[in-house]
Amino acid sequence: MSAQAPLVNIRNLVKHFGSVAAVDDVSLQVGEGEFLTFLGSSGSGKTTTLFIVAGFEDPTAGDVEIDGRSVLSVKPNERNIGMVFQRYTLFPHMTVAQNVGFPLMVRRRSKAEIDKAVKEMLDLVQLGAYAGRKPSELSGGQQQRVALARALVYKPRILLMDEPLAALDKRLREDIQQEIRRIHRELGVTILYVTHDQEEALRMSDRIAVFSHGKIAQIGSGADLYERPADAFVAGFIGNSNFLQGSVVQSQQDQVAVRLDDGTVIRGNTRHPLAANARVRLMIRPERLALAPSNDQVDQSLDVTLSDTTYLGDMLQHEVVTAWQQRITVRTNDRAAASSAGNALKLHFASTDVMVFEDGNRATA
């Protein structure tokens, strides 16, 4: 993000529906040209936040500023924001060209100008040949591309997208993700994107805001969230993860030693200072774990038993079980580590790959 003033500034946004706090004190800034994704499970407040920015909902408290000015009193049709919805929202009685031209028609532009812009936009989404079709004659993916063209034809600076690809199958989704990224690069439009698909979020975004129960659990680049999750929730939500329980033996700045319930002591990293004896959770990514024969001398390790191995093509996934019967997932492409079920092994890992979090009340996803 640039140091200059943000294009969109959301400040302490709160939205209550009756007794439900759908959005609970959300603040974030979006830079000009940025691709920011709201990622979170169902009901976490993503759509509500987006709808407040679009003007379809009024916040209970807080403010939305665009270019430094509050837009709360601006009607949704005057905010000049583009939006693509999760559901198919093309106007059924209009052709593709009329759909894309609609925003310019209500802006009373000349016919020549509309025709030219429509053609440009349809070329941009590679549907030039479909101008005369009705929405019912298009596939789901084509409909969403037309919706994208319609949302961009009036050159809004901000484009909101609420799970636009949720209804499409995986292959098609990936194609259109590529296309959205290309269009983002070509036009430099600022995009606020909503998804509950973490892969999609990681693939497309400059930054990701992880939503949980109406709050932002963490906001940062994909690498930030994956490598330096703020808490156990984010760690569990982004990527695959293994969690172990323990209590703090000793903590010094970001280094911490934790004793597991069977007495093993493991060293790891923490973002916040931890008190001695505090209950904590340790998180290790499956691909940061390695397996070794049980008689190997390794620095930091845990005795485990192999229970199952799955062949994933590019990788092997092992399920191992600790002495206290906890399952741990290991992903490796070290075929030598393969061994038969029931064998005793050593699980080893670097202390920099162990993340230690306070054992909060927040459930993992």
Binding site: A54, N77, F85, R87, V106, K134, A151, L160
Partner: protein
Amino acid sequence: MLLNLNRMGPGRYVLYGIGVLTALFLLLPVAFIAALSFGSSQWLQFPPPGWTLKWYAAIFNDPRWVESIWTSVKVAFTVMVLSIALGLPAAFALVRGKFPGRTLLHAFFISPMIVPVIILAIALYVFVLKFGLNGTFIAFVAAHLIVALPFSVICIVNSLEGFDESTEKAAIVCGATKAEAIFRVTLPAIRLGIFSAALFSFLASWDEVVLGIFMASPTLQTLPVRMWTTLRQDLTPVIASVSTLLIALTIVIMIITAFLRRRYAR
């Protein structure tokens, strides 16, 4: 398929037979009336001894018939317009509204379909008498509107429920005002429902007879009422030709509907 006609052997001719008989059962009275309307016999003899158009000529030469046709058209058309004008906003409130008692209100709008017409008629008669409106155009329209409105509400509610409100929202973010979004997007998108509502409302009034009898005066009668009063005096072939005209009109309306549905079906 379990019930495949071609695999049923000779048994299928039994099915054909039943089909043909059912069709005849439904169509014979209509065909019968149509045949009589062109028959030359004053006494509705069947088969007709000869063919003539004089009963049709009689309709158009009798100002009372022409007048009642004209009254029916005016009443039905006014009912149709009012039924949409009231049914459309009502349907929006019933589908989009968030207020307590919404389902109850929905049931209330449908209730004239369930209440026996004769009860409606008596109640209306008393009401209309009290205000000295009996025998007026307004009374006819009001009475028919009561039976037409449920059709209108049902048709429009159904199509509005099938219309995703996000589409209207999309029009608004695109820069349309709420009114523009409704007139340029929502209403065109549910036009088939509105069209059906108009059609059913028109027909509900057009062939209504019970309420009509109560609302009529000697000088103001709709066509079905006029048919009824004529029938009570004598059975003339003119009734057969009026009926045939009514049937023809219904068939024309159905053909137009089918054509429009095919054309606008998505």
